[in-house]
């Protein structure tokens, strides 16, 4: 096993686990006013779409790949082995997924290069954006964007479609109240991303956006402070990552951010083979590994309702992420990816046992 809890937890006894009551308190902290401001943004968002001749609840951006190539299944042997077979929300035998896998395989010299190509595709070709994804990985491919779990689903599907075993990992973080200073800045990278978006929202001239931003920021800060005060083990069930097996080494991977978004939010550029940001940044550990995605159902319904009822807020979120990618691209053009990586060189920790692959693996990435 590649990642051991001992490698990632610095010592001391782990704090108690988050209880159901804690989870209920977190949900309760979402104030009705915030929901109201979100709902108020929906009619204008729908009206703008209607005037533009679009469906009132259409996604923020049109599909980036409206037509996808499909691989022929004739004569192809499809694996039914664990970690190689299709699972919930991970249809690795879909012709569209196999077509992408075939293309990436044809450009890769071996398994390690293929795993890297899959990571680059899931992280870079599918951008970070919020929409419901009832159509699974094929819809994510067609749309060209998705949230963390959509990108992880696609990463796992492409790895499996190309013959590499892949699985899902749930993450647990330890929040030590003596050490934590500000979970917004030092906590899960998603906190930082959303905190920046809420700050931007708060600075908008539209009063509704300002109020929503203020409330959202307040909720996020209160949530972080509560986590900090209580000093608990928190399950990041909403943010699974993946592991892909190359040469008997399981390599953890979080394809949520592309380079541009990482640069925009002051995060290290994600590279396969180095500990993912969410594991490295916190005293985080992989708490559970599974063949199927660790959560669905309720979360999918929640996302669907959020995108339906809070259409204007979702548009704002997606547009903010798009703007951030533009800023990040400018940062990387100005500084250069290699220099940007070098700035964070101490952050990068090669995955244990990666040397077993026998590939040239520097202490930190060079590009």
């Amino acid at each position: 096993m590649t990642v051991r809890a001992d490698d990632l937890v610095e010592g001391g006894s782990p704090p108690p686990r988050q209880s159901l009551l804690d989870k209920a308190r977190a949900v309760r902290s979402i104030r009705p006013q915030a929901l109201l401001w979100m709902l108020m943004l929906t009619p204008p968002a729908c009206w703008t779409r209607i005037r533009a001749g679009r469906r009132p609840f259409a996604p923020t951006f049109p599909d980036r790949r409206p037509t996808l190539p499909r691989a022929s299944l004739a004569g192809r042997v499809l694996s039914g082995e664990p970690f190689l077979r299709p699972t919930t929300e991970c249809d690795c035998h879909a012709p569209e997924v196999l077509a992408v896998a075939d293309e990436l395989r044809s450009r890769s010299a071996g398994d390690w290069q293929y795993a890297q190509a899959v990571f680059r595709f899931a992280a870079g070709e599918i951008v970070h954006g919020v929409e419901p994804a009832p159509g699974g990985v094929v819809q994510t491919l067609r749309r060209g964007y998705g949230i963390c779990v959509d990108k992880v689903n696609l990463f796992v599907a492409l790895a499996r479609a190309g013959g590499l075993r892949a699985r899902y990992c749930s993450i647990t973080i330890d929040v030590n109240p003596d050490e934590a200073t500000d979970l917004i800045e030092n906590g899960p990278p998603l906190f930082r991303t959303y905190a920046r978006i809420f700050e931007k929202l708060e600075a908008e001239p539209d009063l509704r956006l300002q109020r929503l931003g203020r409330l959202a920021k307040q909720i996020l800060h209160e949530h972080a402070q509560r986590m900090q005060r209580q000093g608990l083990q928190w399950d990041l069930t909403f943010h699974p990552i993946a592991e892909v097996e190359v040469g008997e080494t399981w390599i953890p991977s979080d394809p949520t951010w592309d380079d541009a978004e990482a640069a925009a939010y002051g995060l290290p550029l994600p590279r396969l083979g180095y500990q993912p940001t969410v594991l490295r940044q916190l005293r985080a550990k992989i708490s559970r590994r599974s063949e199927i995605v660790p959560f669905r159902g309720g979360a999918d319904v929640g996302r669907f309702l959020f995108c339906l009822l809070a259409r204007g807020a979702v548009d704002y979120l997606n547009q903010s992420l798009e703007e951030a990618r533009g800023q990040g691209r400018r940062v990387l053009e100005e500084v250069g990816a290699a220099a940007y990586i070098r700035r964070y060189r101490h952050f990068y920790v090669p995955v244990p046992e990666i040397a077993r692959l026998g590939v040239d693996f520097p202490r930190y990435p060079t590009s």
Binding site: D182, P268, Q281, R342, R343, Y344, R345
Partner: protein, 83 residues
């Protein structure tokens, strides 16, 4: 020590000035509490210190106590330079 302190101060004041409403930072003020350094910023400052002062900083030395204020950073770097 003075040379190191000046170099660290210049770097931190630059970081602070780049923030919205950035204020001058006293040598003893907590950089984490002020939000001038966060968990990612630590890695940036480590690179700066290595490049500027020619010291080598190991992962196990990247602790809050060594980077919490201009003064602590300067003391830490000076100690490494004289070691």
């Amino acid at each position: 020590m003075t040379k190191v302190l000046d170099g660290v101060r210049e770097y931190i004041q630059g970081k602070s000035a780049a923030r919205p409403g950035g204020q001058p930072v006293a040598d003893e003020q907590s950089l984490f509490r002020l939000g001038i350094i966060d968990s990612m910023g630590v890695f940036e400052i480590v690179t700066f210190l290595e490049d500027r002062f020619g010291v080598e900083i190991h992962d196990e030395e990247i602790l809050r106590k060594n980077f919490d204020s201009i003064q602590r950073i300067a003391q830490f770097v000076s100690a490494k330079m004289t070691a």
